[in-house]
């Protein structure tokens, strides 16, 4: 009995983790390059909307998924150029983008009609029958993209020259500049990766899990992603662990009433934020944070 319930909760936890994990890959990379990107929320929301809009128009949720990533990229381009080309404070840009995306998607949702569009399940025979962990192998197919995206993100940051330059830019942009690295270009590129990943995460939420778009669909998931990166101390493994914890808390909140367990649902909703704050306080001096995080770079200024 508990195995079944456990399987159900785990399955739902995984489903809720996936959108976070996609976006977290992007946010992790952007933060390593020095952008604390709060418009990740707007990127996810626009991706979710774009995926449904295009998926419903073309009749193909897969095309919608791609479109979600592209829309996320477009939002990232706006953010990147405003904050790392003409140097407007990145938080201001993020705030405005979040407001704009929320207003725009809500506006368009009311003026347009969308049909249901959802990607298919992919069940891996055999593996899916294993008790408890079997749920891992019975997911909407984009879930398995994570198997590609997560190692790729890690590889990009830790093994490529591009990643080395990103890290240099996130730690000491002045020195990186003298070395011949185009600091703001690298930061823009990192944001674009973040846009694609967040768009994908949002798209997974809409055309993957739900099949449609509703108002303010991401409901702060982007900020949970930021919390996850902090929770993971700017390491990919920890970040993904954070995503899973926060996804599980969400799953528990949904599952508790049917399990007959009394646990404060508000506490579970707030848990990711509380955990992130706790970690911030405990780790404040651990110096894992990229040193130039959220510090703008202009040549000639110290």
């Amino acid at each position: 009995m508990w195995l079944d319930d456990g399987g159900t909760v785990l399955s739902s936890a995984l489903r809720l983790t996936a959108p976070l994990a996609f976006a977290a890959c992007g946010e992790y990379l952007a933060e390593r390059a020095g952008t604390l990107n709060i418009s990740v929320e707007g990127m996810m929301l626009s991706g979710a909307f774009g995926a449904v809009a295009v998926g419903s128009a073309t009749g193909s949720p897969t095309v919608g998924l791609v479109a979600g990533a592209v829309v996320g990229l477009l939002v990232a381009l706006v953010h990147a150029n405003l904050s790392h080309r003409i140097q407007i404070n990145t938080f201001v840009v993020g705030l405005v983008i979040n407001t704009l995306v929320l207003g725009l998607t809500s506006f368009l949702l009311q003026t347009m009609e969308f049909s249901r569009t959802q990607v298919g399940m992919l069940r891996i025979p055999g593996l899916a029958d294993i008790p408890l962990v079997g749920v891992l192998f019975e997911q909407r197919w984009p879930f398995y993209l994570l198997l590609l995206v997560v190692p790729l993100t890690w590889f990009l940051v830790n093994r490529t020259r591009w990643g080395l330059e990103l890290r240099a830019v996130g730690e000491n942009p002045q020195a990186a500049d003298v070395t011949g690295i185009k600091v703001n270009l690298r930061r823009r590129q990192a944001l674009m990766w973040c846009g694609v990943m967040s768009g994908l995460g949002g798209a997974y939420l809409s055309v993957g899990l739900v099949g449609s778009f509703n108002n303010n669909m991401t409901a702060g998931r982007g900020f949970i992603v930021i919390a996850a990166v902090i929770f993971g101390a700017w390491r990919l493994k920890g970040t993904l662990l954070g995503c899973f914890l926060f996804g599980a808390a969400d799953a528990l909140r949904l599952a508790l009433p049917s399990l007959g367990v009394e646990l404060n649902p508000q506490l579970l909703v707030a848990a990711p934020y509380l955990l992130a704050l706790t970690v911030m306080v405990l780790m404040a001096r651990s110096q894992r944070e990229p040193r130039a995080l959220s510090k703008p770079f202009e040549r000639g200024l110290v």
Partner: protein, 542 residues
């Protein structure tokens, strides 16, 4: 000029800059500058702040595109528009302020800024190979943040040398090194680099260094080529004259230009440095009045101890006393705790242990502004960091440390502020369009005068001047020297924190040497010689 020189052997110079010009608006930063560097030659590039050295080198490194001029490498004209192109043409540079990323490892830093894939093992092997060849051993997997200043310099050198540059530029390479480390650096340049047929350009404002370590010297003044000569055929005083464009009185200005004024420098300097220093005439140090009043010193530091956030000891049981009317210099190589002490005396940080007494009374160091109230005026090392607020007006900057005097219970007293500002602008000859102009619009020297005026107008008991002449031109330096002497003569205890040996020798009556955050010795200026100071700087007792 050098490229007019007859080439009997038919060789081609490693690098030739022809007619490089760069204007910023109506101002000419470089005006048709020629520079020729032969293979195997150490070429000194000398000039005041703003003489065009930096612009010229930025052109060479592809950081600035010139308005006119050509760059030739081994006789062939090359285009250099990006740092990558510069590297591709065999031009390498070691920057004055290290371009290293601290949290990254040595090999990662070395690999940074190159094109192509990274191969960790190959880079590590290279680091070790280059290190072995030039005697610059370093662990390629160490994190840079754990390295000392000298080791970081090594990493910079390895990074530049690994790319096998045909011409290597070093911008003020010794500013963070001890005399011994500097000597070792020049040894490497001389015996390995130059001997391998590379050209080296050594940028420095220290005349002694240029005369000792270079073969040829070029002097820039106001963007133009002012002088060019074999180093052996010239002398430090002549170079000083060429740099400033007029005769230089050694006692008054020599220090500002980096001339060591001692009876016989050749006897005291390390062998490498001594070579070129022979023509400096002897003059006795200026008479000072060390008011050795028995009893309480105006400023007394007792057992100051401070560790950084990473646990590194920045100040280690530091003791020092400065008497009324005396100028005491705290001399040492950059990065040995001077900046920390400056911050501490500015009230920016509190020590872990120890006390500061002003006129015999202890000061509550954890309370911001307590030192200022106790009578400590500070000219900070980096005035933009803690000395001024660039976006506030000259008037506001002149009164900001004494707000209580210029405000009622709630509101500021504008008229009183203006009166005070007008008076100080007059008295300290601050050149500003108006007292309401943002401080940002003033020149560096005038910003420094604003700081000095504000700190002295509070009639301090103690004046702490940390690198007060950094980045100033000769005129402003002379002015600063005069004002410091004047302050001391009027009974202010002056603590001069400086890395410039010449400045210290010219101004102070006593010299305390700091090394690794502790005082290694205190000498009267009469007993101080570069050699003895050098040993103290290296942490040895003299």
């Amino acid at each position: 000029m050098s490229h007019d020189r007859a080439r009997t052997d038919g060789s081609v110079p490693a690098l030739e800059l022809r007619g490089i010009s760069k204007r910023y608006g109506p101002v000419v930063a470089c005006d048709a500058v020629d520079l020729t560097v032969e293979r195997g030659e150490v070429h000194g590039l000398l000039g005041e702040n703003g003489a065009g050295k930096s612009t010229l080198m930025k052109v060479l490194m592809g950081l600035v595109s010139p308005d006119a001029g050509e760059i030739h490498r081994d006789g062939a004209r090359v285009e250099v528009h990006t740092p990558q192109q510069a590297a591709g043409h065999g031009l390498g540079m070691v920057h004055q302020h290290f371009s290293l990323i601290e949290p990254l490892t040595v090999w990662e830093n070395v690999a940074l800024g190159e094109p192509g894939r990274i191969d960790r093992d190959a880079v590590c092997a290279d680091v070790e190979a280059v290190g072995a060849r030039y005697g610059l051993t370093i662990d390629p997997t160490a994190r840079v943040e754990r390295l000392s200043a000298g080791e970081r310099q090594r990493v910079e050198l390895i990074k530049a040398l690994r790319r096998d540059p045909k011409v290597l530029v070093l911008d003020e390479p010794t500013s963070v090194l001890t005399i011994a480390e500097s000597a070792a650096l020049f040894e490497v340049l001389r015996t390995s680099v130059a001997a391998e047929g590379r050209g080296v350009i050594l940028i420095s404002h220290k005349l002694a260094e240029i005369t000792a370590a270079t073969d040829v010297v070029t002097v820039l003044r106001r963007g133009r080529l002012a002088f060019h000569c074999r180093t052996a055929d010239t002398s430090a005083p002549e170079l000083a004259r060429r740099m400033v464009g007029r005769d230089v009185s050694l006692q008054a200005e020599g220090a500002a230009l980096g001339l060591v004024v001692t009876d016989d420098p050749a006897k005291h300097l390390s062998p490498v440095l001594a070579g070129g220093l022979s023509a400096v005439p002897a003059e006795p140090p200026a008479p000072q009045a060390p008011a050795d009043v028995p009893g309480t010193a105006a400023l007394a530091l007792h057992g100051l101890r401070l560790a950084g956030p990473d646990g590194r000891v920045l100040l280690d049981s530091l003791d020092l006393e400065v008497a009324t009317g005396e100028i005491v210099a705290l001399y040492g190589v950059e990065g040995n705790g001077q900046a920390t002490l400056g911050d501490l005396l500015s009230g920016l940080i509190a020590p872990d242990a120890g006390e500061v007494h002003v006129a015999g009374r202890p000061v509550a160091l954890d309370r911001p502004g307590a030192l200022h109230e106790a009578g400590v005026g500070v000219i900070p090392e980096d005035r933009h960091r803690s000395g001024v607020v660039l976006d506030m007006s000259v008037a506001d900057n002149l009164v900001m440390t004494d707000l209580r005097r210029y405000s009622g219970r709630l509101l500021m007293r504008r008229a009183k502020i203006r009166a005070q500002a007008e008076e100080l602008v007059e008295r300290f000859a601050i050149r500003t369009p108006s007292i309401d102009a943002p401080l940002r619009t003033l020149s560096g020297g005038n910003q420094q005068r604003v700081v000095l005026a504000r700190e002295l107008s509070a009639e301090p008991t103690v004046l702490v001047a940390a690198q007060p002449t950094h980045g100033l031109d000769v005129g402003a330096i002379e002015d600063m020297f005069a004002r410091l002497r004047e302050a001391a003569a009027s009974g202010v205890a002056v603590l001069l924190i400086s890395t410039e040996l010449e400045e210290v020798m010219a101004l102070a009556s006593r010299i305390a040497v700091i090394s690794s955050g502790r005082i290694t010795g205190v000498l009267d200026v009469a007993d101080a010689s570069p050699q003895r100071l050098g040993m103290l700087v290296g942490g040895e007792a003299a």
